[in-house]
Symmetry: C2
Subunit: 211 residues, 2 copies
């Protein structure tokens, strides 16, 4: 029924291919993820329909129903799959440099996806289950990368506040998002470095100078 759109996506032309087990799903998954987030930004969570997402992605509705039990699950999965991959830990041996590099990735991602993030912030107010799903199925995997780097930094005595690394890991993303979302759409190029300086000690040695 969607021949006009299917033609744009040769890989999905054979409907049977969509259901073949073991078939690499990446192309479809990416198309669906893109469609879900586009629909979310344009129509909002309440306005987006499975019909609409299926049409945008060039897949059948059954594919969506089969793959996700709820609309929330579909949105969260689309976020993780498409445009918010967990950042990669450089693990270069220099925790401070790794942290700075991760913050720059976070800033670039937030900048690129700010429309999706703004839409999400709006929807969490209307649909608390989205916030619950984000807290459970989305944020931890991404925060863990930052927590890992800060854990190494803490072990090396590089952190000013090593006792609550979990909260500390949220400081960078929170400051970057607040700056971007509330004050300007332009990322502040100095911000990742300033945040790193705030969190890491001035000297790499664990022993601190007394004043």
């Amino acid at each position: 029924m969607r021949h006009a759109l299917r033609q744009d996506r040769p890989a999905a032309e054979d409907p049977a291919a969509l259901r073949r087990p073991g078939r690499p799903r990446t192309a479809d998954d990416e198309a669906i993820a893109g469609a879900v987030l586009q629909a979310l930004v344009e129509r909002g969570y309440d306005g987006m329909t499975v019909e609409d997402v299926a049409r945008r992605a060039g897949v059948g509705r059954a594919t969506l129903y089969r793959r996700w039990p709820t609309k929330t699950a579909m949105v969260i999965d689309a976020l993780g799959r498409g445009r918010f991959p967990p950042p990669e830990d450089p693990d270069s041996g220099d925790a401070r440099a790794d942290f700075l590099s991760l913050l720059r990735t976070v800033q670039a991602t937030f900048q690129r996806e700010h429309h999706v993030m703004r839409a999400l912030q709006l929807e969490v107010a209307r649909h608390p289950e989205i916030g619950v799903a984000l807290s459970r199925d989305f944020v931890p995997e991404r925060l863990d990368v930052l927590i890992g780097v800060l854990g190494r930094a803490a072990a090396g005595g590089l952190l000013r506040a090593p006792s609550d690394v979990e909260l500390l890991a949220q400081v960078g993303p929170a400051l970057i998002w607040q700056h971007l979302a509330l004050l300007t759409n332009e990322p502040d190029p100095d911000l990742p470095q300033r945040i790193t300086d705030l969190i890491f000690t001035d000297r790499p040695e664990p022993r601190r100078r007394n004043r």
Copy 2:
């Protein structure tokens, strides 16, 4: 022309009273501020009209045109006047306690006004001039209260990262907002204390123990 609505607000019944210099403006200002923010949340920045705000506030359109040169100026003024008054610095002599108390106020304000803040975050993407106005005419006055407390704490040697107090002052609001806006509408009661512990040293003395 708005007699039906004017009748609800006896103070504004005499149009001349609106223009009388020296007249205490508080009641009108509050009504206008409430109307502006309500219109913003319900209709969005593009959808809100001076006509609509005037009707909701029970004042004449001329009053609004006379008072604010632009819609952005009206919104920013409404924010500051109505529901986001600059928090008061307790200045109790205990900077740590003052900071904690301010963070609790910030959390309560963000929780109460989250609809307005979500709407603003959405509008900044569409209307960069709102972000500019927030950065220039709204945020600094509020941040200054936190910067003041942290400045006293830095002088007392109570901060882990005393070198960038301006950025440090943004950490609390950013973490509180991120938690509230993205993850859940329920404020985390432990968060202000955890943030304080992250920012303040463990001991009130400036001299630190070496490990």
